[in-house]
């Protein structure tokens, strides 16, 4: 039957791979299994098998594609510049279109619809809070053990920043920064938002969190829900229509926003060109002197690179510059930036592989000798905290900078 949707992997995307194999050692699932069918090259070959009519989109294809973390480490090392992430999203859309199942429909309901409804997220947050307070992590099922175990302490009444406006402090004239509140960032990571907003204000931005915005749609896109992805993207297009600078403090959201062009055409392309990760904006402000470099030494911080920051957005230097300006000494834990195994819903769908990768990452952090870890993505943060336990602190780089800024001058 081949492909049935317009989003399927295209011939040129698949033909771009010449099977040189240089991606293999950079693929976390290939490293775990040593199997070609769990490698980027193998996955592209299997997509070609469908495109050429050798195979159907069947349960085996679903399993093999589903095992991919979508970390996109392969894209960085690909001399042929294969857009692997896009091709994999295309393959997932085909799977969703051709293999309907109640489980998949339910998942689509979560990632494509419910996630964009604030009261649903508030209800989920209250439930998660109840579980967090009453059930020790070790009694939770493996699918949610590290994610719930790795949550920050959830607030009783999750506040929403959507609709607020903040004036610049000290400096002004940097323009307007429109912040994406996000689906889980808003109720679960309020402190990261606070740090983002406060640091942006002090680098001269007027900060707005536009009304009418919603989840970026990354989870829906990764799960092959084309309709849900586009529905969410369109809402954000209108919410951010007048923005000149869109700032995210979650690497996964930033990576997805920067690819809106793949989903909603030219309008998406325009929105994508305005998106920056908060570490990019803050590092720039530090570099041109709008934000200070603080010279009180604060010790080491282990740098964990979220895949969607390092591989998808190619942002490596900025988070390091931000923590260094806060007075920390950034410590490298992993030369190639291997995925920590959180990968959105992956930890729930493939708990075993996710756990193995999470443990490896935790071991790398332990070997660094630092009990503080900087990570710029909520999923990675939960995975790290879940695997490292309470003796370690995991924080967003901008949070660390905000704390240092307050400590240096409490009146600011």
């Amino acid at each position: 039957m081949g492909w049935v949707t317009a989003d399927a992997p295209t011939r040129s995307e698949l033909a771009a791979c010449i099977q040189c194999g240089l991606c293999l050692p950079h693929c976390p699932t290939f490293r775990l299994t040593g199997m070609e069918s769990a490698s980027p090259r193998g996955r592209l070959l299997m997509m070609s098998a469908v495109a050429e009519g050798y195979s159907e989109v069947n349960d085996v294809f679903d399993d093999l594609m589903g095992f991919c973390l979508q970390c996109r480490a392969c894209e960085v090392v690909c001399p042929s510049l294969v857009p692997f992430g896009r091709a994999m999203e295309g393959a997932r859309i085909e799977i969703a279109a051709q293999l309907a199942s109640p489980v998949r429909r339910f998942r689509r309901l979560i990632t494509g619809r419910w996630i964009g409804i604030p009261w649903v997220m508030r209800a989920v947050t209250r439930m998660a809070r109840l579980v967090q307070r009453s059930v020790p992590a070790r009694f939770l099922p493996p699918q949610v053990r590290t994610s719930i175990g790795g949550l920050r302490r959830l607030p009783k009444r999750p506040a929403s920043s959507v609709g607020s406006t903040f004036t610049p402090i000290g400096l002004s004239g940097a323009g307007v920064a429109a912040v994406l509140a996000g689906c889980v960032m808003d109720p679960w990571f309020g402190d990261v938002h606070t740090a983002t907003v406060e640091v942006l204000r002090r680098s001269g931005y007027r900060v707005v969190v536009p009304d009418g915005q919603t989840c970026c749609g990354a989870l829906a896109a990764h799960d092959g829900d084309a309709q849900g992805t586009r529905r969410l993207a369109k809402r954000n297009l209108s919410a951010f229509a007048s923005a000149d600078l869109i700032v995210t403090d979650a690497a996964g959201c930033g990576a997805h926003l920067k690819e809106y062009g793949n989903w909603v055409g030219d309008a998406g392309e325009i929105l994508a060109s305005k998106v920056k990760d908060v570490t990019e904006v803050v590092a720039e402000a530090i570099a041109d002197g709008r934000l200070p470099r603080l010279d009180v030494p604060r010790g080491k911080v282990a740098m964990q690179d979220p895949c969607h920051l390092r591989h998808a957005q190619r942002i490596v230097a900025e988070p390091r510059a931000v923590v260094a300006a806060a007075g920390y000494e950034p410590v490298e834990i992993d030369e190639v930036g291997m995925c920590c195994g959180a990968a959105g819903m992956y930890s729930m769908l493939h708990p075993k592989a996710s756990r193995e990768l999470g443990q490896k990452k935790a071991d790398q952090v332990r070997a660094s000798g630092s009990t503080l870890v900087a990570s710029a993505n909520p999923g990675c943060e939960m995975q790290l905290r879940g695997h490292l336990g309470g003796a370690y602190r995991v924080a967003h780089p901008v949070e660390l900078y905000w704390e240092a800024l307050q400590a240096a001058d409490p009146t600011r």
Binding site: P25, S55, V82
Partner: protein, 471 residues
């Protein structure tokens, strides 16, 4: 019982692949030939490999060993419906620092080994361009080279001992820690045998001390002839650089788009030279290279300022094959070797052949040892294209052999260059090689159809096969 059932009993369900889609990906490597992987097995120990060999033999299934599948000559492709034994899970490393050696599993990735020994001050010298992905087992099977083999020699010079499983399922150790083992040195027979004599399950490799100093020079020329003259000139002056690599303009453009290392894309040829050793020697040799390059009208002369710049230049060079995909979806190449003095002449003729067949050609090669990689970029979906490419490739090899060169510098013969062996060897030569193979593997269970052309052994021509024999 079936072979599948017995393999599953032996290895468990997860380490035997039977699904058509999973087997499909094991039907091809980095080359263009597709084979038929009937079953795929993932042993973790030597004993498991031995059992697999005995089982496959019992069920008369040909066996093809595979590492990372980065080969370009189809060496790891089951040309007959067969069992692919994938060795990626056999990746242990035991370092013996005192003797500067390491016992490594065949599935260890070449660069992983060097990364592991780097903090101790050592590396594994053979550095094929695919070193970030390819495995030591594959390096040994193909006697792989690489840019730095100009000074260090190819894999065979870095293997002290081999543990292998024979066609009978026995475990054999060839060589040992001593530099010069007694008796016939069979290591040299097995290294480069491309999986036709047995399955390597472990190897004792030599580790090379990291050089105290290194200098990488990028030079560029407006004529290919000037670059070639520089290569000969450097070596004539008594300098053997650690590496001496050339890329033509098209290749440089493709590479630069990927790495942005500042390769001059307007030059006809780019030459990358590296000298290593004690600082004084490195300074002196770098000065000579600069001088020779200037004498030959170099248009660019740049020394890598730091390790980051050096790494970027090498990343560019080592990504060259993959970068070709920016030009066309498929590529085909032979890694012929020609005498250095014939470089310019051969290059001119090679470009002529490609032009005559209307095929886009890019060149990237180990200039120091005359090891060419004329790469033809094409789209196999275009009718008759692959046949045209193969015809051009044959002509190209004929030219290289005619000027006194050889078929393959490092990629191996596999299935791709098998018939071309007759250009270099006569019947007696091929028969002698076939006899060696037969003495290891009388029933040809290991990687049948590879390396030696059909009819190499006299009995192929008339004698009936023995009872129970695989042919």
């Amino acid at each position: 019982m079936t072979l599948t059932a017995e393999l599953r009993d032996l290895l468990g369900h997860d380490r035997v692949l039977t699904e058509p889609l999973e087997r499909w990906v094991y039907g091809i490597d980095s080359g263009v030939v597709r084979g038929d992987a009937q079953l795929v097995a993932f042993p973790e120990t030597t004993a498991e490999v031995a059992s697999i060999v005995r089982l496959a033999r019992h069920y008369r299934m040909p066996i093809v060993a595979r590492g990372a599948g980065t080969g370009l000559a189809g060496g790891a492709i089951p040309t007959q419906p067969g069992l692919v034994v994938v060795l990626t899970k056999m990746n242990s490393v035991e370092i013996d620092l005192e003797n500067a050696t390491a016992w490594v599993g065949p599935g260890v990735i070449n660069l992983d080994l060097s990364k592991q020994t780097d903090p101790l001050g050592y590396h594994f010298a053979p550095d094929p361009s695919s070193q970030s992905a390819c495995t030591i087992g594959g390096n040994i099977a193909n006697n792989s080279g690489g840019p730095h083999c100009l000074a260090e020699g190819s894999t065979v010079g870095h293997v002290l001992a081999l543990e292998m499983v024979t066609a009978d399922g026995d475990v054999l150790v060839l060589g040992g820690p001593a530099p010069d083992p007694l008796g016939l040195d069979l290591r040299g027979v097995v290294v480069g045998s491309e999986g036709t004599l047995g399955i390597i399950t472990k190897a004792l490799v030599r580790l090379t001390p990291n050089p105290p100093d290194v200098r990488t020079l990028l030079t560029a020329f407006s004529r290919v002839e000037d670059a070639a003259a520089t290569v000969s000139g450097i070596i004539a002056r008594g300098v053997v650089p650690a590496a001496l690599e050339m890329m033509d303009q098209r290749m440089t453009e493709a590479v630069e788009r990927f790495v942005s290392a500042g390769f001059p894309t307007d030059a006809a040829a780019v030459l990358l030279a590296e000298v290593v050793g004690l600082s004084a020697a490195v300074d002196a040799e770098a000065a000579i290279i600069e001088e020779v390059a200037r004498e030959n009208n170099a248009t660019t002369l740049r020394v890598a300022a730091d390790e980051a710049e050096r790494a970027k230049l090498w990343l560019g060079r080592k990504s060259a094959f993959g970068a070709v995909a920016q030009a066309a979806p498929d590529y085909y190449l032979h890694d012929t070797v020609v005498p250095r003095t014939k470089l310019v002449e051969t290059m001119t003729r090679v470009y002529e052949i490609a032009d005559r067949h209307g095929i886009m050609m890019l060149n990237v090669f180990h200039a120091g040892d005359g090891n060419l990689h004329p790469l033809m970029a094409f789209d196999s979906a275009e009718e008759g294209m692959l046949a045209r490419v193969k015809a051009a490739a044959r002509e190209l090899v004929e030219v290289c052999v005619e000027v006194g060169g050889s078929l393959s510098g490092e990629h191996g013969i596999g299935i791709e260059k098998r018939e071309l062996m007759k250009l270099v060897f006569n019947e007696a030569d091929l028969d002698a090689q076939a006899r060696v193979r037969e003495s290891f593997d009388p029933d040809a269970v290991f990687n049948p159809d590879k390396v030696l052309p059909a009819g190499s052994r006299c009995f192929d021509l008339g004698r009936p096969p023995l009872e129970g024999m695989w042919v």
